[in-house]
């Protein structure tokens, strides 16, 4: 139920956007991610974007891995 896939925003029209993942396009609502821009990635849940997927935070994950002494 908490299925949320990161998808790329390719087109925005008012409250809706066309997102794409691996060639699949879907229409979603942007009510909860109003600040999203074309090119951003969003987490999609049941037809709504619920969070903007932060590429920079992938860097944060690397930081956590370094703190865990997992990677140099």
């Amino acid at each position: 139920m908490c299925l949320g896939i990161p998808a790329k925003v390719v087109e925005i029209k008012e409250q809706e956007a066309l997102v794409e993942v691996a060639g699949l396009k879907q229409k979603i609502r942007l009510d909860f991610v109003p600040e999203v821009k074309v090119g951003d990635y969003v987490i999609v849940h049941a037809g709504f974007g619920i969070s903007i997927f932060e590429e920079s935070e992938a860097q944060e994950t690397l930081k956590l891995l370094r703190e865990a002494d997992v990677i140099p």
């Binding site: 299925l3 066309l18 993942v21 879907q26």
Partner: protein, 335 residues
């Protein structure tokens, strides 16, 4: 101009039925046995025979990559191929729904004709019935097919031994997802092609290369996972496959992720799972990959010597999970 449609008269056995056969069916199928139009087809074949039957109830009847006709012929041919039997003769019964456009029937018949030629199987007998509107879904096709067994002993789960390699001839889940998308249109501007195809030529080339096959099964209803669990159950052995080695198209995987479906349980209609001795695996892959139908054939696992009679999947983090047969209905009316 009004479109010609199938009526109850077409199923009554009288002139309209004869016209249907003479004008629409016979021109497309050249078998002399069929053309004799006897109550039974008179054919000859000798030796060890394989015999299979299937029914096809797919909705919609036309989908990217195929249609119910191509599916019906491929399904029969592939069931024969799975026991290493060379396809010879096909019989097909049609249950048509009153109101079906004749043009649609023609398209289905044309497709069956083409697929029969591709597969080297001859349609020699048939039957048509018509049911009232609402009592059928456009068209149901039921097939029976006969082939000559080419390997002795025939491939079967009892021949699987620990150490045997497991191969799948191509990416999984394409038919199931293609039909689902054609029916529900979840994704805009997306045409996913079904993998529906008669694959006897693949098996034929393995046999001609002198390879001995332990067992085969085509992963139709229930998908790869169900097929592997059946092979494990019937061979009473442990089969393990590697998650990272199973070929799945990126688009099919993404579609499954978005819809909460598991591609391991989606039907394939042009693939075969082949279990054979480990030492033959390399040559088998070479032969398969030389075919347009199996360019992405992959070695996905092996039969282990462990006591569990189950199909297992090793995961990308190094864990293991069991592959159970599909429970309940995942997707209705796929094949």
């Amino acid at each position: 101009m009004k479109k010609e449609i199938i009526t109850l008269q077409h199923g009554s056995g009288g002139r309209p039925t004869q016209e249907l056969i003479e004008r629409h069916i016979l021109p497309r199928f050249s078998s002399p046995a069929l053309r004799q139009l006897l109550d039974s087809a008179l054919v000859e074949c000798s030796g060890r025979i394989a015999f299979t039957t299937d029914a096809f109830v797919v909705r919609p009847i036309f989908f990217p990559g195929g249609d119910i006709g191509k599916l019906a012929v491929s399904g029969a041919v592939n069931d024969l191929a799975a026991v290493a039997a060379e396809p010879l003769f096909l019989a097909a019964s049609f249950v048509l729904e009153e109101g079906l456009e004749v043009e649609e029937l023609d398209r289905v018949l044309e497709s069956m004709s083409k697929t029969c030629k591709e597969a080297g199987i001859a349609l020699v007998a048939g039957d048509t019935k018509v049911v009232e509107k609402g009592a059928g879904d456009k068209i149901y096709i039921s097939t029976s097919a006969i082939g000559v067994r080419k390997q002795n002993p025939d491939p079967q789960p009892a021949l699987i031994s620990p150490g045997d390699a497991i191969i799948v001839t191509g990416p999984i889940g394409e038919h199931g997802m293609a039909v689902l998308q054609a029916r529900e249109n979840f994704f805009r501007d997306l045409e996913l092609e079904s993998d529906c195809a008669p694959i006897w030529p693949l098996i034929d080339s393995l046999l001609k290369a002198g390879l001995k096959i332990s067992a085969m099964r085509d992963p139709t209803r229930g998908g790869l996972a169900t097929t592997l669990s059946e092979l494990a159950r019937d061979s009473r052995l442990c089969l393990e496959v590697d998650e990272g080695k199973i070929p799945i198209g990126k688009t099919v995987q993404a579609a499954c992720d978005m819809l909460g479906l598991d591609p391991m349980y989606l039907a394939c209609e042009g693939r075969m799972v082949i279990v054979l001795p480990q030492e033959s695996a390399g040559r088998a892959l070479e032969v398969l990959r030389g075919h347009p139908l199996a360019q992405n054939a992959a070695l996905i696992g092996e039969c282990l010597g462990e006591p569990q009679k189950a199909a297992l999947l090793s995961t990308r983090i190094g864990g293991r999970r069991i592959l159970q047969p599909l429970s309940g209905e995942q997707l209705p009316r796929i094949c």
